[in-house]
Each structure stands twice: as structure tokens, then as C-alpha cells.
């Protein structure tokens, strides 16, 4: 695969990959690290693969990376619980670029969308990891059952079960909200 084709592929998945990582890790910086690590791994180890193989491979790498970071964070959380806490606000810096959101002409509509995004993302973030993965890969990224199974490293039956449970859980929680 040419560098240009690989770049186009990465560009086509980077936003959704970031969102998936952000929902799994609940942290933007960690999500960006996970996406960059996954991109590097894909390019270094699987850059010569066919285009149809790349998406499941990339999401397999990303899923593993997210899981590793979740585990590491759990261990770090246990250690940090023994140490004195520090005010997080001290570390925050004003970032002009970060505050420049995409332009949107209708404030009322924007508010409505923002609320829907907040409610949905919160509900997805609270799903068990496997259900969250199945839901995001199937519904958001649009992988089919076989590709999702490949990306998650499980059977197609498991994908269907996780996806069904995720949908039920989200429906029960969100109902008519969205």
C-alpha cells in the first residue's frame, strides 16, 4: 500500500477513532495517545496489507491499546489513592486553539445538539467496555459483524450479544431524550 493511500485511510478513521478512544478512556490526552500509538503500530507492522484489511486491524490495535491504558490506569489509581491529591485546576492552561470550536450558525440548534451529545456520550461511557466497543464499532464506525468480531478478538455471536445488550441499555437509559 502506498504512503498516500495509507494516509488517506488514517485520515478517514482518525476522528471516529479519537471519539471511540475518548469514550473508552474519558480523557482527551490519553485518547490522542492511544490513537497515535495505534496509527504507528498499523503503519510499522501492517502498512503493506490490503485496504480491506486495514480497518479491522486498526480497530483491533486501538481496542487493545484502550484496554491496556484502562488497566494501567486502574493500577495507577490504586497507587495514587495512597498519595496526597493535587488541585487539577493548577495545571490547566488557557489554549486559544482548543477553545475555537467549529463554526455553527444556529445557537439554539447548537445547544440542542450539544445536550444530545453530552447525554449520549455519558450513557455510552457508562456501558461495560465490551458492550461499548461493540456498539461503537458496529453503529458508529459501521463495521459489519465479522469485522467487529475481528477487531474485538471474539466470536460473531459475542458481538451480536454485546451489541444487543448495549442497545437495550442505551434505550432504557435515554428513552425519548434523544
Amino acid at each position: 500500500m502506498t504512503s498516500r493511500a495509507l494516509d488517506q485511510f488514517l485520515q478517514s478513521v482518525e476522528r471516529r477513532a479519537f471519539k471511540i478512544a475518548q469514550l473508552g478512556l474519558r480523557n482527551e490526552d490519553d485518547a490522542l495517545d492511544a490513537v497515535q500509538d495505534s496509527m504507528m503500530k498499523l503503519v510499522q507492522s501492517y502498512g503493506s496489507r490490503g485496504e480491506d484489511e486495514l480497518k479491522p486491524l486498526f480497530y483491533r490495535i486501538l481496542s487493545n491499546r484502550i484496554r491496556d491504558m484502562q488497566r494501567r490506569r486502574t493500577v495507577r489509581g490504586r497507587i495514587m489513592a495512597w498519595l496526597p491529591t493535587r488541585d487539577a485546576e493548577d495545571d490547566e492552561e488557557i489554549d486559544i486553539v482548543a477553545q475555537a470550536a467549529s463554526p455553527d450558525p444556529e445557537p439554539a440548534r447548537r445547544l440542542e445538539i450539544d445536550e444530545a451529545i453530552g447525554v449520549l456520550e455519558s450513557a455510552i461511557a457508562d456501558l461495560p467496555p465490551r458492550q461499548q466497543q461493540a456498539f461503537l464499532l458496529r453503529n458508529f464506525e459501521g463495521l459489519d459483524v465479522a469485522e467487529t468480531a475481528s477487531a474485538m478478538g471474539c466470536s460473531e455471536g459475542s458481538v451480536k450479544t454485546h451489541y444487543f445488550r448495549a442497545l437495550e441499555s442505551l434505550r432504557a437509559r435515554l428513552g425519548d431524550v434523544i
Partner: protein, 117 residues
């Protein structure tokens, strides 16, 4: 997924909206990540560009060596083949019939006796 329910379609639309609203800093860092990934691609050694030609040459040399080896053993194979052919020829019904020669000898003996008497 074409058979989405309205709920699935709506949730997907909302998630797409959220990716469209990513801030400039995040988009910039994603672009940097992509470029960093591309730059991390293992560089190909200049010698590797000759690898296909080298492999083809090696195969050609091997083929010539094996062919020469076969040729060297040809005389033996041919000799063995000739022996086998001879045996088949002897066993074959089309082979010359030496009984004819024996009959001719009897005739010449009889003719010689006739001349003597």
C-alpha cells in the same frame, strides 16, 4: 448496517455531530499523530530495491546448476535406458525369429547331402 432502527440511526447521527465539532487543537494533534505515524514507517534500505532482481538471479543460477547436474548423469541414464530397451525388444513379439535361421541351416545341410549323393 443498512437495517438500522430509528434509535440506532439517531445515536449514530449524534456521534457524527460530535466528531464534526472536534476543536482545532484536537484536529491539529490528530494530524500530527498521522504524520508521526507515517514517518515511523521503517525506511527501506537502498539495497532492498535490488532484492527482487537478486532473487531472480539466484533462482536462475540454481536452475542452471541443477540442469547441468542432470546432464552430467545422462550417459548412465541413457545406458540404463538402452539396456532396458534391449530387454523389451527381446521380449517383444515383433523381435526377429531365430527359428527361421535354424530352418535355413537344416535346408543347407539337406542340400549339401543331396549334392554329395
Amino acid at each position: 448496517m443498512d437495517d438500522r432502527t430509528p434509535f440506532e440511526t439517531r445515536t449514530r447521527e449524534i456521534l457524527e455531530e460530535s466528531t464534526a465539532k472536534l476543536d482545532g487543537r484536537t484536529l491539529s494533534r490528530l494530524t500530527q499523530a498521522r504524520h508521526a505515524a507515517q514517518e515511523s514507517k521503517p525506511a527501506r534500505s537502498p539495497w532492498m530495491s535490488f532484492a527482487p532482481a537478486g532473487a531472480a538471479a539466484a533462482v536462475a543460477v540454481l536452475a542452471v546448476v541443477m540442469w547441468s547436474g542432470n546432464r552430467a548423469s545422462d550417459p548412465v541414464l541413457f545406458a540404463q535406458g538402452t539396456q532396458v530397451d534391449d530387454m523389451e525388444l527381446l521380449a517383444d513379439g515383433e523381435a526377429p525369429d531365430f527359428t527361421d535361421v535354424a530352418e535355413d541351416l537344416e535346408f543347407y545341410e539337406w542340400a549339401a547331402d543331396e549334392v554329395e549323393t
